[in-house]
């Protein structure tokens, strides 16, 4: 086989990639949960 990609999930690029998508997603989840709290107030 000519190509040999790795299965490592902890390379710097992978970590950076997850941070890039994780920050806006986490922000969206936090804002949504803050709004949902009003349902039980």
């Amino acid at each position: 086989m000519a190509q040999n990609p790795t299965d490592k999930a902890n390379t710097p690029q992978v970590i950076l990639g997850w941070i890039w998508v994780g920050i806006p997603l986490a922000w969206g989840v936090i804002v949504t949960l803050q709004n949902a709290v009003k349902l039980f107030q």
């Binding site: 086989m1 000519a2 190509q3 040999n4 990609p5 790795t6 299965d7 490592k8 999930a9 390379t11 690029q13 992978v14 990639g17 997850w18 890039w20 998508v21 806006p24 997603l25 922000w27 969206g28 989840v29 804002v31 949504t32 949960l33 709004n35 949902a36 709290v37 009003k38 349902l39 107030q41």
Partner: protein, 467 residues
């Protein structure tokens, strides 16, 4: 540039980690998922002229605008419907092209179309021309949605033959999560751009186009395809017998042949019924909880947000669970549990058990999202990996059809109940029982799905040989 985007230039080299592909897919899906949050623009778009004339009704008032020429909310609802219709159509039409050109070109095209759609819609808003908004966000943006939806999914299936459910669930979770980002981002930007004579809709759309293009660009830059024949280290493809036991094929069927099988149309019905049941209620969730439990508008918005979280979480939970449970069994759970929960929710309403009501709808919405996320892996099991993106594209027309059928069904039945003197709080009961009935039909369709017969694979082989 064209060469860089080409399929042959996006094949992974040594050292590339396949775990970089899910973030690449999320870069696209988190952005195009903004479509689910488009309704945050509806009220401000219905007040463009009265804002300019500084004569809008107070924010707390239910009336939208009395200024002649201001757009009606009902007309604005067509922007989202058009986008979903064009999502399905473009996914169907461009599915084979996406497979041919590879993920980088497809994701780049999706970024250009989706962001151009937002830009044009912003321009349409700035000159108060609704057809331009329809063309921009509905048609051009909708095509970006379709191409952007199927391309990362098909790529992930090729990278994760050992865990296709987990892989597709990750990407499609992003589409659900896009609303969680898109809604507060739009609200914050509109607040920033609001002035004495403008409520900031047009610059918000244009700014979002720029932000999303940068975000999506990271996706198409880092995405890669595995070389033909690549498989994960230590993983061996299941034997024909082992695969057959899990209703999986070890071969691939072309899209043109797949659509001729009854399995394809049963899966189409499965997706259509699951989405119709979910989308109809999702669109009415805010009004429903207000009328059934008398909660405030702000609390109802919190309920819709919670449902979005369940919708997003269900995508990754159910799709990855389907790797262990099997796709057919997973859909059996969706339809059986969904029908029972739907049938129980009017009782929760009568009991005034709001926590049970929220939990019930949360689980239903998790299965609505799970249905979207598990279907690509189901298609891969039935028809193989080679043209799964193209087949998925055609199947997404079920979503377009459900996007129209679901809300129409709910609105029509509810209105008919109100016209017959049924109390507002009880008007949803009939709708909910009909949704439960749709899920029972879905259960039967799923039960009828059997592996694709040898005859279809033989026909495909013969066609290849004579081509």
């Amino acid at each position: 540039m064209a060469a860089f985007l080409d399929r042959s230039h996006s094949v992974a080299g040594p050292g590339f980690s396949r775990w970089l592909v899910p973030p690449a897919a999320l870069c696209i899906h988190l952005c195009i998922g903004q479509a689910y949050a488009f309704s945050v623009f509806n009220k401000p778009m219905a007040q463009l002229l009265c804002t300019a004339a500084a004569s809008c009704p107070p924010a707390a008032a239910k009336a939208i605008s009395t200024v002649p020429g201001d757009w009606a909310i009902a007309d604005l609802g067509w922007i989202f419907s058009l986008a979903i219709v064009f999502l399905g159509l473009s996914a169907a039409v461009f599915g084979r092209w996406v497979e041919r050109v590879g993920p980088r070109m497809a994701m780049f095209t999706a970024a250009v179309l989706f962001c151009a759609g937002l830009l044009i819609a912003g321009f349409g808003v700035s000159i108060h021309n609704l057809p331009i908004v329809f063309l921009g966000y509905g048609v051009i943006g909708g095509c970006g949605l379709g191409i952007g939806y199927i391309s990362p999914v098909s790529t992930l299936i090729k990278w994760f033959p050992d865990r296709p459910g987990l892989a597709t669930g990750t990407a499609i979770m992003g589409f659900g999560g896009g609303a969680l980002i898109g809604a507060p981002l739009a609200v914050a930007l509109m607040k920033h751009y609001t002035g004495p004579t403008s409520n900031g809709v047009a610059p918000t759309m244009m700014t979002m186009a720029a932000i999303y293009f940068v975000f999506m660009t990271v996706g198409w830059l880092i995405v890669r395809l595995p070389a033909p024949g690549w498989r994960p280290a230590g993983w061996t493809a299941p034997t024909v017998e082992a695969a057959a036991a899990r209703m999986m094929t070890t071969r691939s069927l072309a899209m043109t042949e797949a659509v001729k099988t009854p399995q394809f149309w049963l899966l189409w019905a499965v997706l259509f019924l699951n989405v119709t049941a979910g989308i109809g209620v999702l669109g009415q969730a805010s009004l429903m909880i207000q009328e059934m439990f008398g909660v405030t508008v702000a609390a109802a918005a919190g309920f819709v947000g919670l449902l979005s979280l369940f919708n997003m979480g269900g995508r990754i939970f159910w799709a990855s669970s389907s790797d262990a449970l099997g796709r057919k069994r997973t859909y059996m759970i969706f339809f059986a549990l969904g029908a029972v929960l739907y049938a129980l929710t009017p009782t929760f309403g009568h009991m005034h058990a709001i926590a049970l009501f929220i939990l019930g709808y949360g689980i239903i919405l998790s299965m609505y999202g799970g249905g979207f996320a598990t279907i690509p892996a189901y298609l891969r099991d039935m028809f193989g990996t080679q043209q799964v993106g193209a087949i998925h594209g055609v199947l997404l027309t079920a979503w377009s059809a459900a996007g129209i059928a679901g809300p129409v069904l709910v609105n029509y039945i509810r209105q008919s109940q109100l016209d017959h003197g049924v109390a507002k709080a009880d008007a949803y009961s009939v709708v909910i029982y009909i949704m439960a009935g749709l899920l029972v039909v879905g259960f039967i369709c799923n039960l009828m799905i059997k592996p694709v017969t040898e005859e279809h694979f033989a026909k495909a082989t013969l066609a290849e040989a004579t081509a």
